[in-house]
Symmetry: C2
Subunit: 411 residues, 2 copies
């Protein structure tokens, strides 16, 4: 008979509540950055694993392989070429830090810059993991409105001027400029230049999160803010990216690109004895030959699924569901009529095995987001997408009378 | 022309100093948990990677594979069997959390339990990464003296009684009972039982770090404190372990074993979207067939290197170097005569390409540790061990007159 030891009185006072047991994925899973299983490049990954283990497996006996704490050098060298070709970034392998997913990049940059009470600017609708991290850091979060072309520069200019009048210098401006999460927009080149001008004028560094930027369906990715900043002679951008969206989310490999002075500070905070070597080695070997062809094929598959979701929404929600046709990525940011509360919808849908992201978790815009929801489409099959949207529409109609008529029932 | 943006005024006030650029490993590298390159089981890892990617590669498209946030289920199921067989631990796969190295386990447990000012007990000579983490957490660290059988129970009893009189309940008692780092001792079974009795009496949880426990050269590993605690009906032990020492340090896979109520709290703090999937999958596949035979062969190789280091110390330092013949592991904890200051020795040796751990970084015992040093022997070849120890003795003699005579010179 084992008596439970009561750890409760010993816990740090502000720890989050206990997590629930994992019960498997729901039947209709429209959340999470999961990707298309059929697009996983299994054969090429097998070949890469075999080749790199044969050639360099002995190096697993040393922490960080022979590359030191910044990560496997061949992967950083691939990134130097890839970021130049795809995002216009001119950097050296010393200006790259490999991280355990781009989430570790978020954590490290926040640990470097943020104290409680610091002000941070973000797009008003924003990745929930970034919002929750800022809340945990005690940051004062200011949301900048965005539209179909990304963050609105008129709004940014007004907010920066306003903060400056109040004596506040924000610690950074966080943006997901390419395939914004959740609204799917791509910040136009003109706005990118305006953003950098404003950031320079106000002395506010830019924290650029491009974890989805490989997934522009037509391959038309604009230059990164990091690239444009350097071009104009201003080196105040910290850039993060990831292989989670382009190759496989279960591989926890991301990266930070920044001037060496920043990388050297982040390294001092990265106390994990390195990120996973096998993942880095296999990725480097795979990407060298296969990155571009794989991503092109993946984008075709994702576009099909996006089209399937759009068709299903048109069929089952009709004009009640408004959204921008996405230029890429794995999610759709949907606006429903004002009578719908998506937080309540998410709760009721979950009971029916349909999981969605309610807008309020992906926004700091308050009540304006309560009629919005994010639907991720990369992981479910097209059949599951159709069935799931039909089931969601049924729940939504029952509770909110929206949509007024269900397409496939009323015909 | 790019102007450096000055991040300095924006840094969090208490960030650590910038890291230095990695300049490669030194010629004589006696630090770090690196392992024997020749013992890396390359062929079996290649076969494991190929088989598991072929069978389950598609699951890489989902975060956490199909296993949820606690880690790849087949790896947790292997650990259930392995921990039962090797350490006497009775637990379920729900009581295991896979982490990115055991270091993440340290970080999570500290994040769960520690606020600044909390008291923590550790072995007075202790892993520097554990000490530095406690210092960063603002803990009040109390060192318990240890000898060749591990932590001294008379000292622990006195310290606990003393703290209780002062109204202090320590947050936990941290111990590396099997192949203690740095002194290499194995806590005897009798002391393990005494330790648990004291912990129960004083209501102090035990944080057991067994990351080296697979490396007992003769395979004679005592039951873990976790196992003995459960056996006596007391469930106050949190256990961590790792594959870094038994398979390969560059693979960042460790684990926490604890009652579900603790795991559920740690999960809530683990915000990294999972540990590396490929490393977990390959390890599970490899370990199922090869763990025991691999570790047995590795221990033979490590014992040879330990013997080489011992012989080299005898040859070059003679009676000036005192140490316990290690029962296992990858390091030797050496005591030199009182006139030697190993912090200064480490600095001078580094200039000659010889890197060692000075005792003061691996101890909270203060000046008593300044004549001690830790020498890691798993990574260098036997030739490098011999040459490195000879070179170290030369530096030490030049600076401190110790040893009085150099074996291979004076004969």
């Amino acid at each position: 008979m084992v008596n439970a030891f009561d750890f409760t009185p010993l816990l740090r006072p502000d720890v989050p509540p206990a997590a629930a047991r994992f019960a498997g994925f729901p039947k209709y899973n429209f959340v999470g950055g999961h990707n298309d299983p059929a697009s996983t490049p299994i054969e090429a990954l097998r070949a890469a694993a075999d080749a790199v283990l044969k050639r360099e497996g002995r190096d697993l006996a040393t922490y960080g392989l022979a590359s030191g704490p910044q990560g496997y050098l061949p992967l950083r060298e691939f990134l130097v070429r890839k970021l130049k070709a795809h995002a216009g970034i001119a950097c050296t392998s010393d200006e790259i830090l490999i991280t355990s997913g781009s989430l570790q990049g978020l954590d490290l940059v926040n640990a470097l810059l943020l104290s409680p009470g610091d002000t941070v600017l973000i797009e008003a609708d924003c990745y929930s993991g970034s919002i929750s991290r800022l809340q945990r850091a005690g940051a004062s979060i200011v949301g900048v409105p965005l539209d179909h072309d990304g963050m609105r520069m008129d709004a940014l200019a007004a907010i920066l001027a306003d903060l400056k009048r109040g004596g506040v210098r924000p610690k950074y401006l966080y943006s997901i400029p390419t395939i914004q999460n959740p609204n799917g927009s791509v910040l136009s080149l003109e706005r990118r230049r305006q953003l950098l001008r404003l950031a320079e004028d106000y002395g506010v560094p830019v924290f650029e999160d491009e974890c989805y930027a490989d997934l522009v369906f037509d391959g038309n990715r604009p230059p990164a803010l990091f690239a444009l900043g350097r071009e104009r002679g201003w080196d105040g951008v910290i850039h993060i990216g990831s292989f989670s969206k382009s190759i496989a989310p279960a591989l926890r490999v991301g990266y930070v690109v920044a001037p060496w002075s920043v990388i050297a500070r982040l390294l001092a905070l990265k106390q994990d004895a390195g990120s996973g070597a096998l993942e880095q080695m296999v990725l480097a070997e795979f990407c060298e030959s296969h990155f571009d062809t794989h991503v092109a094929a993946l984008n075709v598959a994702l576009k099909h699924k996006a089209d399937a979701l759009i068709a299903a929404l048109a069929e089952h929600f009709g004009t009640a569901a408004e959204f921008q046709i996405p230029s890429g990525g794995i999610f759709l940011w949907v606006t429903l009529p004002g009578e719908v509360d998506t937080t309540r919808l998410a709760m009721l849908a979950a009971e029916a095995g349909i999981v969605i992201n309610p807008g309020e978790e992906w926004s700091v815009a308050g009540v304006a987001a309560s009629r919005r929801l994010r639907l991720c489409f990369a992981n479910p099959t097209e059949v599951v997408i159709r069935e799931g949207v039909a089931a969601l529409a049924a729940v939504c109609q029952r509770e909110f009378g929206v949509p007024a008529r269900i397409g496939n029932v009323v015909g």
